[in-house]
């Protein structure tokens, strides 16, 4: 870990982080305000009217509690897509662009190991993901406590966010691995953004149910079983750990590849 480079990376990402935080704040505030503990929410009316459409974007509540409501309306789409976008943009900025433009030269023309450079840039990305998910967790808790004191099962909500964190760390791993592997930014961005996006689309198709349901076995998004986490299913916890372990494997592979590859800079 090189702290000078880490500081530089954080300085370079905080603006982007702020934008994502603002978007998440907006969604959380609007959606939480739609919850009505006694009558069911306006969103539930939508879900009843258009079950297929709402299911595609993961909005099919399994529980009438507040935590189930948040899970259905925020953790089926918003908290999947926005942090994912952050991972894609972040790795592009931290690795791909430096290799593509050639500014990586200055990071390596110094007595700093390639492993250290890669690990530091990774740490910047992980910090970003962690900050984003922690912010969402805090935002959710504070928002609910103000509007519906005592209604939110905070333990389950934190567990749900831990699950999202593991998923996003895994997605970040895919992006990071691609940016460390491909010399051509076209492939680094194409594959790095393409694989998670494709995974998400397959998940949406599987959500639509019917004959496509088995498609869920073709995407790693299935390992983030938000319904299972809310229902207290132990299998869901194991799946979370699988994602986390997968992320670690992706990171290590990426760092090894980056250290051994030819750089045309």
């Amino acid at each position: 870990m090189n702290w000078v480079l880490y500081k530089r990376g954080i300085q370079g990402s905080w603006k982007m982080l702020l934008i994502f935080a603002a978007v998440i704040t907006m969604y959380f505030t609007v959606i939480i305000s739609m919850f009505d503990p006694s009558l069911g929410s306006a969103l539930d009316e939508f879900a009843k009217a258009m079950p297929e459409l709402m299911a595609i974007v993961g909005m099919n509540p399994v529980s009438v509690e507040l935590v189930g409501f948040l899970e259905a309306y925020l953790y089926g789409f918003i908290m999947l897509v926005f942090p994912m976008l952050f991972c894609i943009l972040s790795t592009n900025k931290l690795i791909t662009r430096h290799i593509d433009r050639g500014s990586m030269t200055y990071l390596l023309a110094a007595p700093v190991k390639r492993e250290t450079v890669a690990f530091t840039q990774l740490a910047v990305m992980v910090t970003g993901i962690f900050a984003l998910v922690s912010y969402a967790t805090l935002l959710g808790i504070v928002n609910c406590e103000i509007s519906f004191p005592g209604e939110l099962d905070i333990g389950k909500f934190i567990l749900l966010n831990t699950g999202v964190l593991c998923l996003q760390l895994f997605i970040g791993g895919i992006c990071f691995l691609c940016s460390c592997t491909f010399n051509d930014s076209k492939y680094a961005i194409g594959v790095g953004a393409g694989v998670p996006t494709l995974g998400f689309i397959i998940q949406m198709m599987a959500n639509a149910g019917n004959e496509l349901e088995n498609a869920k076995y073709a995407t790693f998004f299935t390992l983030f079983d938000s319904d299972g986490i809310i229902a207290g299913d132990s299998g869901a916890i194991w799946e979370m750990l699988v994602l986390f372990a997968g992320a670690i494997i992706l990171y290590s592979t990426a760092i090894v590849i980056f250290s051994k590859k030819d750089l045309h800079i």
Binding site: S103, Y106, L108, A110, L263, H264
Partner: protein
């Protein structure tokens, strides 16, 4: 004792691009000119020395350390000016130099200040708004600020005005006097002539010539373009037994090595209107010496 050692270095990009079985060594305290036309393999060689590329065959070392395996160790004592200046876009020059200084863990910034003064560089503006020459100066400061023992300079004066080119040459001469070992690729004859002990020329990835600069200078062939009154005079002039490399209309191009007096005496007998010595590239000058320069 040799500081740089390149032994049978090979990297084949196909279509005769890359470097092939390249071997040379550079001694302690030597300034070594590394010349060749574009695409000859200079940058590829330098990338191997910097540890960016792993040799397909052969090996290279700096200060006895393997350029691939011990790259970060080598970098402690190495300064590098890349052929192309690309920085982090959103920084000012001052920020960048401060970043590099901390990144490299340099204790004192006196050297940086001295270099900024020497090149009259005010680095406070944004890097992406800087002119090519200013960026080049930032790159020079970044390469010399930690006072390295070894320097790899890839076309270090490109984009600099003649005054600054001279200051750069002075800087290299000072470093040379202090015993630094320098590998420098260049297209500027003056730069190489004034600073280098030896030069190597590579072409199509192969070493085609390597010799002392003094020796090359003594053997240097110069080109003169003589304009005569008319085409007949030009034709007659061309058949005087001088080494003629071309005739077009009323102009004759003559190659002269040591026989400048002979040229002058011939010119005296003809209606010469003008005489020009066109700028010759370094490669051209040296390749004449080795014959077969034209391909």
């Amino acid at each position: 004792m040799s500081v740089f050692e390149i032994q049978g270095l090979t990297r084949d990009y196909g279509k005769r691009r890359g470097v092939f079985d390249l071997s040379f060594a550079i001694n302690q305290g030597e300034v070594f000119g590394f010349l060749g036309p574009n695409g000859a393999g200079k940058t590829t060689t330098i990338r191997h020395l910097m540890g960016f590329l792993k040799p397909e065959k052969g090996y290279c070392s700096i200060g006895g350390k393997d350029c691939w395996k011990d790259r970060d160790d080598i970098q402690k004592n190495l300064g590098y000016i890349p052929g192309e200046m690309v920085f982090f876009d959103d920084m000012t020059g001052t920020d960048f130099l401060a970043f590099m200084s901390k990144y490299r863990k340099i204790q004192s910034n006196n050297r940086t200040k001295e270099l900024l003064d020497r090149f009259e560089l005010d680095a406070r503006s944004k890097l992406k708004k800087m002119s090519k020459g200013m960026k080049q100066k930032v790159g020079i400061v970044a390469a010399f600020m930690h006072d390295p023992e070894i320097l790899i300079l890839d076309e270090p004066t490109s984009g600099l005005d003649p005054l600054m080119q001279n200051r750069f040459i002075d800087l290299v001469l000072e470093e040379k006097a202090r015993g630094k070992t320098i590998l420098m690729s260049s297209h500027m004859f003056e730069e190489v002539e004034r600073t280098c002990n030896r030069v190597a020329i590579i072409k199509n990835g192969k070493l085609v010539a390597m010799d002392d600069v003094e020796k090359l200078k003594a053997e240097q062939a110069k080109k003169y373009v003589i304009t005569l009154e008319n085409e007949d005079a030009a034709a007659a002039f061309a058949s005087e037994g001088l080494r003629v490399s071309g005739v077009s209309h009323n102009q004759v191009t003559v190659i002269v090595k040591n026989n400048i007096k002979e040229l002058i005496s011939v010119m005296n007998r003809y209606p010469v209107i003008n005489i020009v010595t066109p700028n010759q590239s370094l490669e051209e000058i040296f390749m004449h010496y080795y014959g077969g320069g034209r391909s």
